[in-house]
Each structure stands twice: as C-alpha cells, then as structure tokens.
C-alpha cells in the first residue's frame, strides 16, 4: 500500500515539468562542479610541493561535488517538498487519500519515500559520475559510499522537515519559504555557536553531523541523529494530519 503512494507521488512529480527541470538543473550543476574538480586537480596538485599536501583525486573531486550538493539541496528540497501536502489540501485531494483504505501513517511515509526516491535519482547519478573516474585511476569507493550515505541522510532529513511544514499550511509557497529558512538556520547553527564547541544547540546543527560523513567517517551517533530527526518530523506530520480528522 505504501508503494502505491510512492508510485503516485513519483507519477505526479514526473507528469509536471517541475520534476524534470529540477533533475536537469541539479545534474547540470553537479556535472559542472565535477568537471571543474577534475580540471583543477592536476593544476592544484602539481602546485603542491610537499607530499603531505597531496590528496587523492576521489577526495578532491568528491569534496567539490558533494560539498556543493549539500548546499544546492537546501534550495531543491523545499521546492519539491512544499507541494506535498499543502497542494493536496488546497486542491481538496487529501479527502481522496483519507477515503482510501490507508492509514495516515502509510500516507505520510509513502509521500516521504516518494520524495526521497526522487532525490535518490540525483544522488545515484552523482555517485555514478564520481565513480566513473575509476576508468582511468583507482577510486576510493569507501569515501564515495560514506559521502553518498551522508548526503542521502541529509536529504531525507530535509524532506522530513519539508513534509511537516507542508502539512501546516494551505499555501505551497509559504511552506517552501518556511522550510528553506528552517533548514538554512539548522545548517548554519554551528557557525553561530562556533565559539562554544560543547554547546547543545550547536550539536543540533545538521551540518555538524554531515561533516564526518564528508570526511569519510561513518559514525553511529550521526546515523542516530539523522534517523531521529526524520522520525520526529514524520511523527509530527502524522499527528498534524490526524488532527484534521479529529478536529476538522
């Protein structure tokens, strides 16, 4: 049943130009950064005299591509997530889902997986792009895996927050703006509190938990943070939609 919702979400994404345009633009941006990364590697590395300054091509290009990805997704996810529930509310199509033999949990998880599935396409393309360097050199697949996983968890967290905000309003644009601001604040939280590394607030920053992944370090506590983040916002969304049914 969840699969049917996922299917429906993907269908609506691909039946409007929105889905295709965003896919194309993202691919263009990441492709450009990949190209620049490969291009600059030889210049930079030939300039780096001391051997300890030299880093592998995977890390160099990966930093370029995955570094920009976390920033670009900050714009892309709110654009996609804003419509998920608010648009259905506005077009009064939520009734359609509520009348079907589905629980609200299934609806919310289905919508979440639909969006994450769509964004996974982008991430898979990125991973394929970076891995393609393996044709000419030896690529550090562990590093790529860690980055892909980190980015995927980051994007899933963005989506979970986006769905929750979308469930609060009838206006997709309002949902989009609020999601963007909230995500932006969460990302740069640790910049504000850089002076105090032990601060609890800084610990909430998404970037702080993404950063180990981008260095190739997979830590359980970062996994736990992202998973909890996702579960929290999905639960809030379910509760919000349930309130519709109870309070009307």
């Amino acid at each position: 049943m969840i699969f049917n919702i996922v299917r429906k979400e993907l269908k609506s994404l691909f039946s409007s130009p929105m889905g295709w345009v965003i896919l194309a633009l993202l691919q263009f941006v990441f492709g450009t950064f990949f190209l620049i990364g490969v291009d600059q590697y030889f210049q930079t590395m030939s300039g780096a005299m001391r051997p300890e300054q030299r880093i592998g091509i995977t890390a160099f290009v990966g930093q370029n591509v995955f570094g920009i990805a976390s920033f670009v997704m900050l714009f892309a996810v709110p654009l996609l997530s804003m419509r998920l529930i608010s648009e259905e509310r506005r077009q009064q199509t939520l009734t359609f889902l509520f009348s079907a033999p589905l629980s609200i949990t299934e609806i919310v998880i289905g919508k979440f997986l639909g969006l994450v599935g769509f964004l996974s396409i982008v991430i898979v393309f990125m991973a394929a792009m970076v891995s393609s360097m393996n044709l000419w050199t030896n690529v550090d697949f562990g590093y790529i895996l860690s980055n892909v996983l980190g980015l995927w968890l980051l994007v899933a967290s963005f989506s979970a927050l986006g769905i929750y905000v979308s469930s609060l309003t009838h206006q997709p644009v309002v949902a989009g703006i609020i999601t963007f601001v909230a995500l932006f604040a969460l990302l740069i939280l640790d910049h504000f509190l850089a002076g105090d590394p032990t601060s609890t607030m800084a610990y909430l920053s998404l970037m702080r938990h993404f950063e180990p992944f981008s260095r190739g370090l997979m830590d359980t506590k970062d996994f736990a943070y992202f998973i909890l983040f996702i579960i929290t916002f999905l639960t809030l969304t379910i509760r919000r939609l349930d309130a519709d049914r109870l309070r009307g």
């Binding site: 919702i5 077009q91 009064q92 509520f98 009348s99 109870l246």
Partner: protein, 310 residues
C-alpha cells in the same frame, strides 16, 4: 435482500461548541438509494465525511457492513466509494492515469486494474476522454471522473456529495440513470438540494435541518404527503358549492379563481369519476381535472419550518 450496509447510530459532531450534526441515526440496506436533503449548512456534508471516515464523530458510531469505522478504518474504508463536494482530482494526470492511481489505492489487484478502469469509464461515459488531462476537461466531465473514481473498486457503499452539480441536463439524466443502476447492486447515499432528483432516484429520503434529522422514511411517504387528498377542477359554469359537496366523498370546496376549484375529499374515496359524471349531466363545462400536488419544495419547507417553530 435486506443486508444492512450502513449503520449510523447517534452521530454527533461538535464544532467549537456548536453541534453541526446531532444525534443522527439511520440504517441502509443493500440495493437502496438514500437521498440526503437539507438546506445549505444543515450538516449533510459533515455527516457524509463522518460516514467515510474523513472526520471523527464526537459521539456515536458508524458501521459499514458490520465493520466499525473507528476501530477498523482500513477495512471499512475499503468498502466505500466517496465523491466529496469538490471532486478530488489530480489535474496534472490524464483520466486513465488518475483512475489507475485510484484503483490501486483502493486495493484493486494489478491484473484487474485495467479492467476496472475500462468498466468505470464506460459507466460514466468517459471512454472518449481516456488520454485527456483532467485539467483540460470541462466541469461536467471532471464531475464524471469524480464519480468514476468512487465506483472503480466496485464498493458496497457509494457515497456521492451533490453529484449532479455543474452538469448539463443530458448529463444529469445520464448520471441519474447511473445512480439508479448502482442502486441495484450497491447501496448509494447521495446528497442534493435538487428536490425532483430525490423523487426520481431515491428509495429513502432523509431531511436534515440544523444538524437534526427532521424526516426519515420511504419516498412513498413523501409522495403521499405531497399528493394529499385534493383535486383541482376547472369548470366553465361552476355550480353552487352545495352541489359539489353533495357528491360522495367531497368534504370541502374552495374557489381558487373564477372557474377553478380545489376539492378536498376523504382518504381513499376519490370522487373524480362521480364528479365528471355530474359535470357532464349538469352541463358545468368541465375543462380540467387533476390531482392538486403540493410541490416538493412546499413539503420540504413545511418540514424544516415545523422543526424551527418547535
């Protein structure tokens, strides 16, 4: 066949301290068409939302074919097809795509999906529109897609909230025929404020006013109430009313306009034949004789007004 499909008991819904629906109970059996009547804001849509599980009742319970909507919402919802006031359409999809989504979400199995889409389209007259985007369809066709969506999984109970709004007269006739047809194998609940529609398609009528049921019964009862025991008689040379009162069964005569009389008679003793004979033999110049029907509107106003006066 009198299997109960919908069983609503003591449904109450409170919105901010005001009772939008209060203590509504009814039963519906298989093969029956129930018409829900009421002025705007009477609580028709609220009741329907509660029956379909879109809104939780503040008190009371709903059972669909014996399955409780509150305890087992998934199983109960699988037996219902619902068309809300605004048809819930994904405008960016084509008719076929949309109906496929609807079929799958309602648990139609993979191989059956195509077949059920074809059947629903045929029933709603949408066969020509398969590849069109819903966005580009006219209001009437969108309404039909809404109905197709509600019957796609062949549910036990079909609930239609004002299904004929925005349709042209020919489409309205088609939809009414469809509703009658559905009534054969499913139970249908429809709400409307077009009164003749109720008379045409429904077996049972419920009139709801200010959240309360003010009338509930067979359409025959309503028709009876409507017909009354009155004849409208047009005479060119009307005699004195005593002459008419002499005819068996006549209890009162009332002059409506020169040459037009309303004759009341005792229940079951229609004086029509005797009246015609008398008119012929006495040369009253009979040119019209008819049942004097109170309009359904009058009955409706009467029922809702009575309640308000109490």
């Amino acid at each position: 066949m009198s299997t109960v499909t919908v069983e609503a008991s003591h449904l109450t819904r409170i919105y901010g301290g005001r009772e939008a629906v209060s203590d509504v109970s009814f039963n519906l059996s298989k093969g029956e068409v129930l018409g829900f009547l009421g002025p705007n804001g009477a609580g028709k849509s609220t009741t329907m939302k509660m029956i379909t599980g879109n809104l939780a009742p503040s008190a009371g319970s709903i059972k669909i074919c014996g399955i409780d909507m509150i305890e087992n919402p998934k199983e109960a919802k699988a037996l219902i097809g619902y068309l809300p006031e605004t048809p819930p359409l994904y405008r960016e999809l084509t008719v076929d795509e949309y109906l496929a989504v609807a079929a799958r979400l309602h648990g139609v199995k993979g191989a059956q999906v195509k077949k059920s889409i074809e059947r629903a389209k045929e029933r709603c007259g949408l066969t020509e529109m398969s590849k069109r985007l819903i966005e580009n369809l006219s209001k009437g066709y969108q309404q039909r897609v809404g109905i197709a969506q509600a019957i796609i999984h062949n549910p036990m109970v079909v609930i239609l909230d004002e299904p004929t709004v925005g349709l042209d007269p020919i489409q309205i006739r088609d939809i009414r025929a469809l509703i009658k047809e559905l009534g054969g194998e499913h139970s249908v609940i429809l709400s409307t404020h077009i009164l003749p529609e109720v008379e045409m398609v429904c077996d049972h009528v419920q009139i709801i006013h200010l959240g309360k049921l003010v009338f509930s019964g067979g359409i025959d009862v309503l028709k009876q109430q409507r017909r009354g025991n009155k004849l409208l008689v047009g005479l060119n040379n009307p005699p004195a009313s005593e002459a008419l009162l002499a005819i068996e069964g006549v209890i009162a005569v009332e002059q409506l306009s020169p040459g037009l009389l309303r004759v009341r008679y005792n229940e079951g003793q229609s004086p029509a034949e005797a009246l015609v004979q008398a008119a012929v033999s006495n040369g009253w110049g009979l040119h019209q004789i008819n049942h004097d029907q109170t309009s359904l509107e009058d009955v409706f106003v009467q029922l809702t007004y009575q309640e308000a006066a109490e």
